[in-house]
């Protein structure tokens, strides 16, 4: 009985291990796929909103963004979010985990870096950093369609 039991136990253990392994691998794979997919399937608006959350004055940002979009530009074709994330040294994954204050710090650093490196854009006569300008365009596109 003990043996049978043990066998049963052993058998059952063996099955459980297999199930466990198969399940784990499946879960891991599906999880990875899910993770990979999440960057595609989670609505972009959440990333945009996260980025735009650091703007203090959304209405001014929209005016500036509209002014840029009203002039010939190639920003329609460009993936703005990718551009901005690159400037912030962030990925789609990390944008979801970074806190708003950390994001604001990166933003300030990047804008100051823009001015230091002369990545400056003139909008309606105002001299703005490239990063903040892209955020303004993103605001205009997001909130004003």
């Amino acid at each position: 009985m003990k043996l049978i039991k043990n066998k049963k136990i052993g058998h059952s253990l063996k099955i459980n291990r297999r199930v466990f392994l198969y399940t784990s691998i499946s879960l891991a794979l599906s999880g990875s796929v899910a993770l990979l997919d999440s960057s595609r399937t989670v609505p972009l608006i959440s990333t945009e909103e996260k980025l735009l959350s650091i703007l203090n004055d959304k209405s001014s940002a929209i005016i500036i963004g509209k002014a840029i979009l009203n002039k010939p530009n190639n920003l329609e074709e460009t993936n703005l979010i990718n551009l901005i994330l690159d400037l912030f040294d962030l990925s789609y994954a990390s944008i979801n985990t970074i806190s708003k204050s950390d994001l604001a710090t990166r933003f300030c650093f990047q804008v100051q870096n823009d001015f230091d490196k002369d990545n400056i854009v003139s909008v309606l006569g105002w001299r703005l950093g490239l990063t903040e300008t892209l955020l303004c365009v993103l605001a205009a596109k997001t909130y004003e369609g």
Binding site: I63, C108, V111, F115, I120, G125, W126, R127
Partner: protein, 544 residues
Amino acid sequence: MIIDSRKLNLEHPLETDLLIIGAGPAGITVAKQFANTSIRVTLLESGGESYDYAAQDLNRGITTGLPVEPLDASRLRLFGGTSNHWAGWCRPFEAEDFESREDWPESGWPISREDLNKYYNTATKLCQLPTNKFDDLNYWRSQPGGSKLNKLNLNKKRLLTSIFQISPPTRFGEAYHKELKQADNIRVILNATVLELLRSNNSSINTSTKTISGARVTTPDKLKFTVNARITVLAVGGVETSRLLLLSTNVHPDGAGNENDLVGRYFMDHPWLRSISYLRFQKPGTNWPLYFDKTKVADTKIFATLTPSPELKKHEHIGGFRLWLRPSRVSSAGLDSARTIINDLKQGQLSDDLTEHITNIFSDVDTLADVTYKSLFQTRQSPFLHTKKTNDPYLGAFIDLNIEQRPNPDSRLTLDTSIDIFEQQKIKLDWRLHDTDWHTAKTALNIAAQEFGRIGAGRVHVPLEGNTPDWPALITSSNHHMGGARMASSPNQGVVNSNCRVHSVANLYIAGSAVFPTSGYANPTLTIVALSLKLADHLLEALS
């Protein structure tokens, strides 16, 4: 002795060793260096001891070219000269201001800043400043009232903090009246207007180096007299120097010192763009006392401006400039909206956000009225902008810009056909800029925008765009008249030599800003006084 020309015995020519024409800061500085020496000095002043309309009228002239203040408003003709309405801003020229630049062939003084250093030290005293430590912030901070002063953390390869000291201001006529009056060897003659310089009888008009005997002078009653002198110094300011040289056709048919058609050319001022830009603070309530206020410290007042580094000037091929900030408790939204609407209208359009812009204009009507008033009437004061309480936070700062203009031979003083009460031709000023000056102004504002953005101070509105000069209507002069008798080693390039002696006249010297070959960005008075001290040293040696 100080005497009125109408009380002189005019039967015989007056004799003197040193004749100084003009009792402004330059003339008085030269004269007082001779006090109580054995050298007889005569100092002639066209005006009296106080403001007189008839004398002041002699300053009228014709202006063409860029807008300048009327010549009878920007200069004063009385004892003490234009120092009587001087604002008192003092700062020496930078060392590089004296150097020759490859990209500006007209640049370069035949003397260096080092040659002037000791004279600058004395000049600070004559201008009643407590120290020559202009940019030593540790010194200012150690003085009572100075602890709150801090410099901005600017990139020193781009912008520098350059500190001005504000003189009381020194009214040279009042400050040195007693000293001149008490000096036995100095005779100050008031209401004595020089009509022309006189060539010596033994000097041919055709020789390359002539001598002059002195000057022909008139009283207000049109009684003429002559002053004979071993040496004559013209110290009549940046406009009148050219006029008197050009009027002196008996020294040379084209005017004294004008053998090479240089007299009157290369006239310079510091083009002033008032409230040209606006810095909107990132953090409302920003306060930079060193840059915002004329802070009273160590018995003087100091004030910081932003100026270019030598590297920036070289790299960008620009002249000097100074940016100064006037903090504002009102927003600039109305001003921006007005500019946007105007620009749209120029292009035959109407803004999509017209309603919003009009709302901004109504809410900022005080600011708009203030800027419009100052532009229209070319004034620093306006009756507006007094509605905000002084404890409201600063929201931004208007930026004023003065630039060093590149020397331009076509910017010039000539004689007009109209005449004054003494039948002397009036002066005509045609003030012009160079394309480089537009680049200087644009670069100055863009660099300021870059630095204010970099340090997280705020964002700057820059209204100058494009590569073709398109000066806004609010451009004006700073009443810093310079050039017209520029200093150069060669007579082909300048009117006077390194000792301020007219190249072609052995005993005629010029004191004052007329001899400046370049103008730097600093107000000229301190350098005028320093150069006059250097000239006085040279003349003491020559006359001894």
